[in-house]
């Protein structure tokens, strides 16, 4: 006995109810459950769809789909990081490396003038604010998509809405550290200033890549990651 289209839709709903939110992860689990249910029916054809489904789900253990979701998230985080590095490399080769060096020198010089800690704090604070605004906007878009029951892929959410918050976290931490300890930059040795300038430059690049470059290339990246992306979006 084969599963009907309705059964398949029910399985998608079932995975959703068990905290699997992304279409790519759902799809793999749905196919697995479907195969298993068909197998169960072969041995016991009178069993109802729901009972067969629950029997199959029990095989995943007490944590249900959680282990699968977790592993998938880890895999995608790695993938996302690799994508960032791919774009970041451009900033260290000609011609973009000129911009990188300019940003670095700018920080390096500015951080040496008196009261530069305020410049430092303002820079970080404005970057955080801009990132917050962008995040807020994309989360809103994401919520609309969710309401419309559009299929959302895990990497899609990472690229757009969560961004793994790499830059955000680092910047908030830096800001707090400098602000709370009332750090005085005029006492710093040149090595520290050098180090701080490098950190700030890297943060700026990371910020630009995650917020502007990657979202623009999202479609391309998603098609590259998910062979099914095109089929699904046209369904």
């Amino acid at each position: 006995m084969k599963l009907t289209e309705q059964n398949i839709q029910n399985l998608y709903k079932f995975t959703r109810q068990h905290y699997v939110y992304h279409y790519d992860v759902q799809t793999e689990l749905v196919d697995h459950l479907a195969n298993d249910i068909e197998q169960i029916w072969e041995e016991n054809p009178t069993l109802s769809f729901e009972k067969a489904r629950d029997t199959s789900f029990k095989k995943f253990g007490v944590f249900g789909f959680m282990d699968v979701v977790e592993a998938k998230q880890k895999q995608m985080s790695k993938k996302y990081w690799k994508i960032i590095l791919r774009f970041a490399k451009e900033w260290f080769t000609f011609p973009k490396v000129v911009t990188t060096i300019t940003i670095f020198l700018l920080f390096f010089l500015v951080l040496q003038i008196p009261y530069s800690e305020y410049i430092f704090l303002t820079t970080i604070l404005s970057l955080i604010t801009v990132e917050m605004v962008i995040l807020f906007k994309s989360r809103k878009e994401y919520k609309i998509k969710e309401k419309k029951k559009e299929k959302i892929f895990l990497l899609e959410e990472m690229l757009g809405a969560t961004k793994n918050s790499y830059t955000g976290f680092t910047m908030v931490n830096l800001f707090n550290f400098v602000n709370l300890t009332r750090f005085d930059f005029s006492n710093l040795t040149i090595y520290w200033i050098f180090f701080l300038s490098i950190t700030l430059t890297l943060l700026c690049i990371l910020f630009y890549i995650t917020n502007y470059v990657i979202p623009q290339k999202a479609e391309e990246l998603l098609e590259e990651t998910y062979p099914e992306y095109k089929i699904v979006k046209n369904m």
Partner: protein, 112 residues
């Protein structure tokens, strides 16, 4: 059913070996195949199989393909070039491991 714990560390090697023999496979097929080959002795649990597959994919050893089968999408895994190389390494490691265990469990005394 044997002691599943003993098999746990070998899951990745088992998956790689199966894929080396079968070109491309999907998750459920792998569980069934293993069950068949080992006559039910080894049952790969769902909660362990997919995390292992995703890990291998993240490491660049596996590639994925998706096809529409009947009324659903199916994700197939296959070895990448790196994956094929790594399979050979892992199998060699496994042979070494089996040899060592054999010595430990069943030592042969000789006059050498």
């Amino acid at each position: 059913m044997g002691n599943q714990k003993l098999y746990k560390g070998s899951l990745q090697t088992i998956i790689l070996k199966l894929l080396a023999q079968n070109d491309k496979m999907y998750g459920y097929e792998i569980t069934q195949h293993v069950k068949e080959l080992t006559k039910g002795e080894l049952k790969i649990t769902e909660g362990a199989l997919y995390p292992a597959l995703h890990k291998l994919e993240a490491e660049g050893l596996l590639d994925v393909e998706v096809a529409k089968v009947g009324n659903r999408l199916r994700k197939y895994y296959k070895l990448t070039e790196n994956g094929t190389k790594e399979t050979a390494n892992k199998l060699a490691e496994m042979q070494e491991f089996l040899k060592t265990m054999q010595h430990l469990v069943n030592p042969k005394f000789s006059l050498e």
